[in-house]
C-alpha cells in the first residue's frame, strides 16, 4: 500500500473519531511568534558583488492552533510565513493510545535531531539556526546548496512515537516514521530543497517511495534544575523520480542543562548519491569507484548562559564540510568547509519580547570568486516575540 493511501486511511479514522465526540468537548489553544531580523554583511561592498546572502530584513511569522477533540485525539495546525511565502509547517492529527504509543498522521516535521524542536525563532536565542540546519541565512548558500538538513522540514506522512517515564529520573522517547521525502528532478547532482517544498510539481511524492526514519533519545534528571539528553536519529530514502539516487542522514545529539547554563552539541551527516551518466557536468573527473556520491558533515556546539533574568549570552561554533565531486560551475572544491564563530545576546525587554544581537565570523576553505575573500563577517539585530 502506498504511503499516501495509509495517510488517507489514518486521517479518515482520526476524523471519524473526532466527529464521534460532542462539539462542546473541543478545546483550542492558539499560539504565535514573529521575528524581524536585520542581517548586515559588512564585508560585502555592494549587493552585486555578494549576491548569495539574505542580507537586510527577513521576517518570520507563525501561528499555531492546537485542538483537542477528545482525551485521545488532537490536531495541530501551524502556518508560517518566511522568505518563501506561506507554508503549512504542521497539519496533523495525533491519535494517542497511551503515553508510549501515539500515531501522528498528516503534515509535520519528522523526528530528527534535537534542534528541530526549537526551530521556531522565538524558541532559540540567536537570530539564525545552527549551520547544519540552516535554511537560507548562511552566506554562500547557493554554492553550498543550503545545509545538511534545512530546518524545519515539514513533510507528509505518518509517525509512530511515544515517551516512557522510567522512574522519576529518566525519560525515553522514540519515533519511527515514513514520509514523502526530499525531491529532485531526473538525473540529479543533489537534493533540490526548493522543489522539495514547492507546489510546482504538486505536494505529492515524486517517486512513490517513502523516506523512512527513526529517532531514540534518553533524558536523565541530574538534579532539580539539571538534566541531560542524548539522542540518535537517522532517515533515508530515494529522492529522484526513478528511485535511482539515495540519501541517508544520520545524527547524534547531546544537550546538558545545568541550572541557567545550556550546553548543546549536535552532529549530523548526509550521504547523497548522484547521477554520473553525464560526466561533463562535473568539475572533477568522476572516479571509477565511490565517485557517485557526496557527504556533507555538519556540527555545532553552543553554550547559552543566563546572566540575569533578562539577559542571556550565547556562544556558538558551528560548521560544515562537504566531500565529493561538484558541478562544473561550482565555486566549491571537492573538499570544502566552512566554520562560523558566533557571539550573541538575547535581552528580554518585555515578557514574550526579546532583542537578539549577534556577530558571526565565517571562515571558508574556498575563496569567493567575486571578492577573493575567505573570511566574512555578519551582524544580526532582531526582535522576536511569542504569545
Amino acid at each position: 500500500m502506498k504511503a499516501s493511501a495509509v495517510i488517507a486511511l489514518a486521517a479518515l479514522i482520526a476524523a471519524l473519531l473526532a466527529l464521534a465526540t460532542p462539539a462542546n468537548a473541543l478545546e483550542r489553544n492558539f499560539a504565535g511568534s514573529a521575528q524581524l531580523d536585520y542581517q548586515l554583511v559588512p564585508t560585502a561592498r555592494n549587493v552585486k558583488t555578494f549576491p548569495q546572502a539574505f542580507d537586510g530584513f527577513t521576517m518570520e511569522l507563525a501561528g499555531k492552533l492546537a485542538v483537542d477533540f477528545s482525551d485521545h485525539v488532537s490536531a495541530n495546525l501551524k502556518v508560517c510565513y518566511g522568505c518563501h511565502g506561506f507554508e503549512a509547517d504542521m497539519m496533523y492529527f495525533d491519535v494517542r493510545v497511551a503515553d508510549e504509543l501515539n500515531f501522528r498522521v498528516g503534515r509535520f516535521s519528522p523526528s530528527f535531531g534535537a534542534f528541530n524542536l526549537r526551530h521556531d525563532p522565538a524558541n532559540h536565542r540567536l537570530s539564525d539556526k545552527p549551520l547544519p540546519y540552516d535554511m537560507g541565512r548562511m552566506l554562500r548558500m547557493r554554492q553550498w546548496n543550503l545545509s545538511v538538513l534545512p530546518s524545519p522540514f515539514p513533510d507528509n506522512g505518518i509517525e509512530i512515537n511515544g515517551t516512557k517515564s522510567i522512574g522519576e529520573s529518566a525519560q525515553l522517547d522514540y519515533a519511527v516514521y515514513g514520509v514523502t521525502g526530499f525531491k529532485a528532478d531526473l538525473r540529479p547532482t543533489d537534493i533540490n530543497f526548493q522543489l522539495s517544498r514547492s507546489p510546482q510539481n504538486y505536494y505529492t511524492d515524486n517517486n512513490g517511495r517513502p523516506t523512512v526514519g527513526a529517532r531514540v533519545a534518553l533524558t536523565y534528571k541530574l538534579g532539580d534544575a539539571s538534566d541531560v539528553t542524548a539522542g540518535m536519529s537517522g532517515m533515508g530514502g530515494t529522492y529522484d523520480p526513478e528511485n535511482h539516487e539515495t540519501y541517508f542522514i544520520g545524527g547524534a545529539d547531546l544537550a546538558l542543562r545545568l541550572d541557567k547554563t545550556n550546553i548543546r552539541i549536535e552532529y549530523l551527516a548526509r550521504r547523497t548519491s548522484f547521477d554520473v551518466s553525464d560526466r561533463a557536468v562535473f568539475k572533477y573527473n568522476v572516479a571509477g569507484e565511490r565517485g557517485n556520491f557526496s557527504v556533507k558533515h555538519g556540527a555545532y556546539a553552543e553554550i547559552e548562559q543566563g546572566l540575569t533574568p533578562e539577559l542571556d549570552l550565547v556562544a556558538r561554533v558551528d560548521g560544515m564540510a562537504r566531500l565529493g565531486n561538484v558541478e562544473a560551475g561550482s565555486e566549491l572544491s571537492r573538499n570544502a568547509s566552512v566554520v562560523r564563530y558566533t557571539l550573541g545576546t538575547a535581552y528580554a525587554i518585555e515578557r514574550g519580547l526579546r532583542v537578539k544581537l549577534s556577530t558571526e565570523l565565517w571562515q571558508f576553505s574556498d575563496r569567493d570568486l567575486a571578492s577573493g575573500r575567505k573570511l566574512e563577517l555578519t551582524m544580526h539585530a532582531a526582535l522576536a516575540g511569542s504569545f
Binding site: Y38, L353, S386, F387
Partner: protein, 137 residues
C-alpha cells in the same frame, strides 16, 4: 554606512524604548509556599520555549492546564517527571486563580475579589480530566 546605522538604530531603539522586564514573574509577589513550585515551573517550562508562552497563554481554567502540562510532559526530551508535573500544576492552579481574580477586578473595579488561595501540595501523577466536563478551578 546607512545599513550599519539602521542595524544600530534598530537594536538600540528596541532595547532602550521598552526598558527591561524579566520573562518570568516577580518572585516577591508569589506566596512563599509556592516558590519551590514556581522554581520547577520556570525551569522545566523554559527548556524548549520561552517562559512567556505559558504565562501569556491566559488560561484560567485549571483542568485545561492539567491537559496542557500532560501534553508538554509527553514532549520528547521534556524532562518533566510526574513529580515535576505536580509542582508545576500546583503553581499553575494558583496562577489560574490569580488570573480569574484579576479579570473579576477588571470587570467590577468597585469590588475586591478574594485573593487566590494556595493549593495543597499534590504528589504523583495527576490524570487528565475528561473533555466536555465543567472546567474545574
Amino acid at each position: 554606512m546607512i545599513r550599519a546605522t539602521m542595524l544600530l538604530v534598530f537594536a538600540v531603539a528596541g532595547t532602550a524604548s521598552c526598558g527591561s522586564r524579566t520573562e518570568g514573574l516577580d518572585t516577591s509577589k508569589i506566596p512563599d509556599e509556592l516558590r519551590t513550585d514556581y522554581q520547577v515551573f520556570s525551569t522545566k517550562c523554559s527548556k524548549c520555549h520561552s517562559l512567556a508562552r505559558p504565562l501569556t497563554a491566559n488560561i484560567s481554567d485549571y483542568d485545561q492546564w492539567v491537559r496542557y502540562v500532560n501534553r508538554m510532559r509527553r514532549q520528547p526530551g521534556s524532562g518533566i517527571s510526574y513529580d515535576d508535573q505536580a509542582h508545576i500544576l500546583r503553581f499553575l492552579k494558583w496562577y489560574a486563580a490569580d488570573l480569574r481574580q484579576k479579570a473579576e477586578e477588571k470587570r467590577n473595579p468597585s469590588k475586591t475579589a478574594p485573593s487566590a488561595s494556595i493549593p495543597p501540595p499534590v504528589v504523583g501523577h495527576i490524570p487528565e480530566p475528561a473533555l466536555g466536563q465543567d472546567g474545574g478551578t
